[in-house]
């Protein structure tokens, strides 16, 4: 079984914004290891010349016309927000990294 290191699990948890305690990290190490072992079985299949399947339905994108539809009212857009101020979602302070 390909063992995952604790560091790898912790890195994945950080990327997924999951807070895991020590027991959970250990359990994930085992579970993910088992999943990766299964992936190894799949990787062993010869797929040379097979187009990767990225979509379940064999169709092309059908663009929509550039037409404006009514927006949600501000109050509705903000309804699910835990905190609101001045018509905006209010969140803990962040520096604007401006990057995408």
């Amino acid at each position: 079984m390909p063992a995952l290191s604790r560091d790898e699990v912790e890195q994945l948890a950080l990327l997924a914004r999951l807070r895991l305690d020590d027991d959970e990290v250990e359990r994930m190490r085992e579970d993910l290891g088992a999943i990766l072992a299964h992936m190894d079985a799949l990787a062993a299949v010869d797929t040379a010349g097979v187009e990767p399947m990225t979509h379940a339905v064999p169709m092309d994108l059908r663009p929509r016309a550039d037409e404006v539809e009514p927006s949600l009212p501000q109050a509705v857009a903000l309804r699910g927000a835990p905190d609101v101020a001045d018509g905006a979602f209010q969140v803990p302070h962040i520096i604007d990294k401006a990057g995408r």
Binding site: L61, R64, E69, S71, L72, G87
Partner: protein, 489 residues
């Protein structure tokens, strides 16, 4: 170039690549129907797709595709007939879905170049790619320790234009931005107002010893939101990296945030969390196929490109490269020139250079002085063409033409009418000029004597006197020839 950078450049060669986001001028969002508008009340332009609500599905905007194709074709890119949307994952409050829809390994456009003028020559900065994506929302600082998130901008269609690391100076980077700005505006695909964030620039900057062929470690500068800052931010980064390298240190690969007000950058220290966007094809969006009709329509919508126009001005009108750049940089000026040449009748393109000189010289000077738009010039293209024709036909001298232009500008009258009314027609009647010349020689016997004794540069004195006596109306060439002959008698 700032003084801090010049000595550094003798040792180090900057290598710069730019990533420019351009907002496409559509009415609705990239993947849903809420409207695109600047300055609307916060969170008033959203819908379930923009908010990333469960069950909402994205459908791409046909107009955004058409606009992006126009840019790809104009930049000479290879258009991928079957491209794919991918999810780029990161967590940030302005990104409701937890991922941005972008393109990764199968972008719409690859290759191509942005053409520009820098350092008095035509250059071509190759592109890596142009891909489609959506914008994120906007964060503003709230009261105390909070930020406020406005999702009006979330989902606005963008293209990201990625250059090769082929730009070699801060000046060239700024010219690249100007050229791209002019291109997208000429194509009508974006307002590209940098103050409104419709065009934004990130710069990757590294240094290598002059003559080296491998690349140094780069830093990425973000938040460069004006043309002026493109140059300033990159010069600052070049100086910063040179200080580190000259001191024997190593540049850290990192993202730095440019602070335009302070004129410095700061590290975003994001490195303990190495960026891993976990791209994968977006299962909600099937492959984007560009059919022949769509591609042909985009091609048919291409106007004359700015650099094509620039080359035409140089080749056909004989305008200098720098003047052509100035003209093309302001479409109102370039349109004025083309209209004036069109009004020049038989002279046609031959009049182009003279018209351009008058346009960029006296006329633009007066317009700038009065804060007037070129399109609102009291002297229109036909009037300027007429003025040039008067000079070209030896009806008036260049000097008189300056006065005629000023009067035409002040009154809106046609140059021909002014010349006739004010009696400014050049004197080409030899006998009339000869009479004045004889009088002048008689009135200045000492100078005439010195001239005959070999002080021939006194001819200028006599020509000047003659032009003055004729109210500037004598044909200067004729005056000079006549005086030469009479003084030798």
């Amino acid at each position: 170039m700032s003084d801090a950078v010049a000595p550094v450049l003798r040792r180090w060669e900057p290598v710069i690549g730019l990533e420019v986001h351009v907002q496409l001028a559509t009415r609705s969002k990239a993947f849903s129907g809420s409207g695109v508008e600047f300055g609307a009340p916060p969170n008033s332009l959203t819908d379930p797709t923009v908010l990333g609500l469960p069950g909402a599905l994205p459908v791409y905007n046909a107009a955004a595709l058409a606009l992006a194709l126009r840019l790809g074709l104009a930049a000479g890119c290879t258009i991928r007939r079957r491209s794919r949307f991918a999810r780029k994952h990161y967590f940030y409050p302005d990104l409701p879905k937890g991922y941005q829809i972008s393109q990764y390994d199968e972008p719409l456009c690859e290759g191509g170049a942005i053409e520009l003028v820098c350092g008095g020559e035509r250059r071509r900065v190759p592109l890596t790619r142009i891909h489609l994506e959506e914008d994120a929302g906007k964060n503003v600082h709230g009261a105390g320790a909070t930020s406020l998130v406005d999702l009006n901008r979330a989902g606005v269609p963008l293209v990201e234009v990625v250059s090769e690391p082929a730009i070699t100076s801060a000046e060239e980077a700024a010219e690249y931005m100007r050229a791209l700005h002019l291109l997208v505006r000429t194509l009508g695909i974006s307002e590209a107002d940098m103050e409104k964030g419709q065009m934004r620039c990130d710069a990757n900057v590294s240094l290598r010893p002059r003559g080296a062929t491998t690349l140094g470690t780069r830093a990425e500068l973000k938040n460069i939101n004006s043309f002026r800052f493109v140059q300033k931010a990159i010069e600052h980064e070049i100086a910063r990296q040179a200080r580190i390298l000259d001191g024997g240190g190593a540049v850290v690969q990192e993202t730095r945030l440019w602070d335009g007000a302070a004129g410095t950058s700061q590290s975003l220290r994001g490195k303990e969390e190495a960026l891993d966007y976990r791209y994968f094809p977006d299962p909600d969006l099937p492959p984007l196929v560009v059919d022949d009709a769509t591609l042909d329509a985009a091609r048919a919508a291409l106007p004359e490109l700015p650099m094509t126009r620039l080359d035409r001005f140089v080749a056909t009108y004989g305008v200098s490269l720098d003047d052509a750049r100035t003209l093309v940089g302001d479409p109102a000026l370039a349109d004025f020139l083309d209209a004036a040449v069109a009004a020049s009748g038989a002279a046609g393109a031959r009049a182009g250079k003279a018209i351009a000189n008058w346009l960029l010289g006296d006329l633009l000077g007066m317009l700038n002085r009065d804060g007037r738009e070129v399109a609102a010039s009291p002297v229109g293209p036909a009037a300027l063409a007429a003025l040039v024709a008067l000079v070209d036909g030896d009806v008036i001298s260049g000097k008189i033409a300056k006065d005629v232009l000023a009067r035409a500008y002040a009154t809106g009258d046609a140059p021909d009418a002014i010349v006739e009314r004010e009696g400014l027609r050049q004197i080409t009647d030899t006998s009339a000029i000869e009479a004045i010349a004889r009088e002048l020689i008689a009135a200045n016997p000492k100078q005439a004597e010195q001239y005959r004794a070999g002080k021939t540069n006194l001819l200028g004195f006599f020509v000047g006197q003659l032009m003055k006596a004729s109210g500037g109306k004598a044909n200067p060439k004729l005056a000079s020839d006549l005086l030469t002959r009479l003084l030798s008698e």
